[in-house]
């Protein structure tokens, strides 16, 4: 068949929108095995946004004859992956085409629930699934009130939040207490807003307290750190492990776990004693002068020698680093996910101390510092279709978050206290659970969450894959992957200028998979129809809603127009803030709002909850490896092959003492449980630590690759109670997922 103009046009229309380059890209395979009389392959290259993690790097997808064949970075994506991808992103097609995906809605026929029970799935229609869920939710709300519904999900999309608001549902939890709730609480009162944005590019000095996002291959940050190093900036890293982030540091200190706080407090002490803080910034934009006397007196006792004793970081180095941090140009100390803010129970204090260091450096919302994102405003559903007033949210918080007013205000729920709430505080209160894209593996003590879920009468799980949690469900709903989704994605993590990019379905949704947005709207229609109508009385249509958003945000006449434009950037000069969103319009070092609630207005030393004892002589550290996204990618064939299971990583000195050899099975035991996995010996970590990758130990037999591989790191991480948090002054609700000590013995 020769290429005529007519053929070309028909191919163009088959391919739809997008850049069409027939036969000029795509794998050799498709071409080699194509019979000579068949038309050349139709190859599209489509711009979209990754969603393997929240960074949303721009992606160019190659789709050949309707099959996604390749993913690479999107050229010009200056604030995402920089036109590149990480391993997870590059392996995304294997997630889309995972043969183990949930394909259609199913209901359970085996009344016995458990990780080892065969649920006896029976395929049902979407209609039946949605009707059943709505009917059950309605009956629980009527009988027990909206507090009887538990939603385990991120708050997005906006139509999902509308559903919760319309129902008056009070109980939504997500994993953010394991990530950054503490920093969110601290940032609100010290600088005004949570800030993940780090202008590493323009920084001259980077102080990393456990911040390990290079090792997690978060390209939004990796790019900047590397550029700064190329420009001669200095990086100092405190981390018990010599990770990929530590490899990028000029100085690495294998700090004692949990003692970052001591070092940060001692640095503040040096900066105050030697008046090294940025006078211009501190005088004009902070409340320091109002509380100077208390503040100076407060930090006096945090001496260098005291900090050295606790942290194993030499006193002289702490002093020198404090001086360098204050004098070598724009300096930054990032604090974000998988920094210590979540990992140790003293994380709230640490986040406060780190925030003060940044304020003293005078780089809050300044070049080279932590800044507030210049995001492209995209109106949500409530702005497009204004709802009637939502009912007041009444009832009891199942995770006890309401005992922690500042964490409560931050709006996230607690993973670490959920099991206690369901089993001990309010047993039987939760009648129905809706779990969206979370597995029990994400919790401390996953089996306790499984036990808690078994007290629930009706559980719905929506996910891409048949996770362990899905095995406990009464109804499972297949979710689409990000490669089958349309959305408007704004830059949040690296946003010096407003930038927005389309996420588009590069292939049609496979099987009967749908989005959580679809489910929210369908349940909304059934349960609270008045909240899901447009002004003309018709129900909200998701396609139309996306079009309205695109139009209102100035992205195009509709979503399709924006989608075809691709990445949009609004070139604006970066104007540093002169008023801050913290109370009083200034950055707060001393936080009077904390004092008013009898909490520490300035960061104080607190030891992490658990420290080694003769019975449990090791610190237990967990990490998220670069090639996996939490617990969601272990079944991806490409990523699975790279890292099929986790190991107990031990320093050879410790291993020799215990008689443990490379590859040998070992038991790692804490006060709440034990796991068995193979030892891996490495000189990269302290001899008093054992390091285990998170995300392994899936049990669901339906995950053909991941099932039974590796150990569940969470089995030995204590969960906690809201009262523990209150008692320990953990008012930022750190999950404490690294606050365990363990013993290790040959398995």
């Amino acid at each position: 068949m020769t290429m005529t103009r007519r053929n070309w046009l028909s191919l163009t229309s088959r391919a739809g929108a997008g850049i069409l380059t027939a036969g000029t890209a795509g794998s050799a395979w498709g071409q080699i095995f194509r019979p000579a009389d068949v038309a050349p392959p139709v190859v599209q290259t489509l711009a979209t946004a990754c969603a393997l993690c929240d960074s949303a790097c721009g992606v160019t997808a190659t789709v050949q004859d309707g099959v996604l064949t390749f993913l690479e970075g999107l050229a010009g994506d200056t604030q995402g992956g920089g036109g590149r991808l990480c391993g997870k992103g590059a392996a995304g097609a294997a997630f889309l085409y995972d043969p183990n995906r949930l394909k259609y809605p199913m209901k359970r026929t085996n009344p016995n629930k458990g990780l080892d029970e065969d649920p006896g799935w029976v395929r049902i229609t979407w209609q039946e699934a949605l009707d059943t869920i709505a009917e059950r939710f309605r009956s629980y709300i009527d009988q027990y009130g909206p507090e009887s519904l538990l939603f385990v999900s991120r708050p997005n999309p906006d139509v999902f939040t509308r559903l919760l608001n319309a129902l008056g549902a009070i109980n939504r939890v997500d994993h953010i207490d394991e990530c950054y709730t503490a920093d969110k609480v601290i940032q609100k009162y010290t600088t005004g807003s949570k800030s993940f944005c780090n202008d590493f590019e323009n920084s001259r000095y980077m102080l990393l307290f456990g911040w390990d996002l290079v090792a997690k291959s978060k390209l939004v940050f990796t790019r900047g750190v590397q550029q700064a190093r190329d420009n001669g900036a200095k990086v100092v890293c405190f981390n018990p492990v010599y990770s990929a982030t530590a490899r990028w540091a000029d100085e690495w200190y294998p700090i004692r776990p949990g003692a970052d706080l001591a070092v940060a407090l001692a640095m503040i002490q040096v900066i105050l004693a030697e008046n090294l803080y940025n006078l211009e910034f501190v005088d004009n934009y902070t409340n320091f002068s109002l509380y100077e006397k208390e503040t100076r007196a407060h930090f006096q006792s945090y001496t260098l020698e005291w900090a050295q004793e606790l942290s194993d970081v030499p006193a002289g180095d702490i002093r020198r680093i404090a001086r360098e941090f204050s004098s070598q140009g724009p300096a930054i100390a990032p604090a974000h996910k998988k920094t210590l803010c979540a990992n140790y129970t003293n994380g709230t204090q640490l986040c406060h101390a780190i925030s003060i260091l940044n304020i003293f450096a005078g780089t809050i919302d300044r070049p080279g510092g932590r800044y507030f994102p210049r995001s492209w405003e995209i109106p949500g559903v409530d702005a497009i279709y204004k709802p009637a007033a939502y009912p007041a949210k009444k009832g009891r918080r199942i995770d006890g978050r309401d005992k922690l007013p500042f964490a409560d205000e931050a709006g996230n729920g607690n993973f670490s206290t959920l099991a206690d709430g369901m089993l001990n505080q309010y047993p039987g209160m939760i009648k129905a659970a809706f779990i969206n894209f979370y597995t029990i593996l994400g919790f401390p003590r996953p089996l306790r969450i499984a036990e808690a879920l078994n007290t629930v009468e009706f559980t719905v799980v929506m996910d891409v894959l048949p996770t362990d949690t899905a095995q406990l469900a009464d109804i499972v709903l297949p979710h689409i992957t990000y490669l089958e989704a349309n959305d408007i994605v704004t830059r949040e993590y690296s946003a010096i200028v407003p930038q927005v990019l389309p996420r588009r379905a590069v292939v049609p949704a496979m099987f009967e998979a749908k989005s959580i947005g679809y489910v929210s709207l369908e349940l909304g229609k059934r349960l609270a129809p008045d909240y899901f109508r447009k002004p003309n009385g018709d129900f909200i249509n998701p396609t139309e809603l996306l079009d309205e958003k695109a139009k209102a945000a100035g992205l195009g006449a509709n979503f399709a127009e924006f989608r075809d434009k691709g990445l949009l950037t609004r070139e604006e000069a970066f104007v540093p803030r002169t008023t801050f969103a913290a109370p009083g319009g200034k950055c707060q070092i001393y936080v009077p709002q904390f004092a008013a609630r009898n909490l520490d207005p300035l960061p104080v030393w607190k030891q992490k909850r658990e420290i080694p004892t003769p019975e449990y002589p090791f610190y237990y550290l967990t990490y998220i490896p670069a090639v996996h996204r939490r617990n969601t990618t272990q079944n991806n064939p490409i990523l699975h092959e790279m890292m099929p299971e986790n190991a107990a990583i031990l320093n050879p000195l410790a291993a020799a003492r215990l008689g443990i050899k490379e590859g040998q099975p070992v038991q790692v035991r804490s006060r709440v449980g034990s796991i068995v996995l193979n030892a891996h010996l490495s000189e990269t970590l302290r001899p008093d630590c054992v390091l285990v990758a998170h995300g392994f130990g899936h049990q669901s037999a339906a995950l053909k690759l991941a099932s039974g591989r590796g150990a569940r790191d969470g089995d030995i991480i204590p969960d906690q109670t809201a009262d523990d948090m209150v008692r320990e002054g953990n008012f930022g609700a750190s999950a404490g997922i690294m606050d365990a000590v363990v013993t290790v013995e040959p398995g």
């Binding site: 000029t24 890209a25 794998s27 050799a28 395979w29 071409q31 064949t69 390749f70 993913l71 690479e72 970075g73 992956g81 920089g82 590149r84 991808l85 990480c86 391993g87 997870k88 992103g89 590059a90 392996a91 097609a93 294997a94 290079v214 090792a215 291959s217 390209l219 990796t222 790019r223 590397q226 190093r229 190329d230 010599y242 990929a244 490899r247 990028w248 000029d250 690495w252 294998p254 670069a626 090639v627 064939p637 490409i638 990523l639 699975h640 092959e641 790279m642 320093n651 050879p652 000195l653 490495s682 000189e683 990269t684 970590l685 302290r686 001899p687 690759l705």
Partner: protein, 181 residues
């Protein structure tokens, strides 16, 4: 016509394995059969806390005097005019001589098909003016690809753990700059 080669800058490698994933995806290399054309290798040296970790993304080095080309009894392996060493699997008899002769263990045996496979330097992409898949995605520049005459002068022929043989491998290593311990 140019020759091509790899430039590795281990200080920049964060072990994200984007190169491996892109290679698998583009070349449709089967998973689960122990075939990895490209692999990031971590090498630790020293003792805690004086520790050094070197990360190198290694694949076939497309040697000028490739042992595999010479030992193959059925001439299934050849070096293209642009220097890319390729295996013609239709001729391969699976004797594994190439894998055994290669100092870098680049040719790998597919236990199901009984054929040898290895890095193709994505010649199908190169022929279209594109970079190999691995270098296209590498987020840090730890793995670069280019014309050999340009790459050759940019780095050292040897690095800890890699001593080039007489076969003139087309790989160079950046051994200077920040982050070197």
């Amino acid at each position: 016509m140019y020759d091509y080669g790899w430039l590795l800058d281990p200080k920049r490698c964060i072990d994200c394995k984007a190169c491996e994933a892109a290679c698998k995806q583009w070349n449709k290399v089967e998973t689960g059969v122990n075939l990895r054309y490209r692999q990031v290798r971590l090498q630790e040296s020293g003792t805690f806390p004086q520790i050094r970790v070197q990360a190198l993304s290694m694949a076939c080095n497309h040697c000028e005097d490739a042992d595999c080309v010479q030992v193959c009894p059925v001439k299934a392996i050849s070096r293209r005019a642009d220097g890319i060493v390729v295996v013609d699997t239709s001729r391969c008899i699976g004797c594994q001589m190439c894998g055994k002769s290669c100092p870098y263990a680049a040719p790998q045996y597919h236990t199901v098909t009984g054929k040898m496979q290895k890095c193709t330097m994505c010649f199908d992409r190169v022929d279209k003016g594109l970079e190999p898949a691995c270098a296209t995605v590498c987020p840090t520049g730890a793995l670069q690809w280019g014309k050999w005459e340009e790459i050759e002068s940019k780095g050292s022929p040897a690095i800890e753990g890699f001593t080039p043989g007489q076969n003139k491998p087309h790989v160079r290593f950046v051994t200077s700059g920040w982050g070197i311990r």
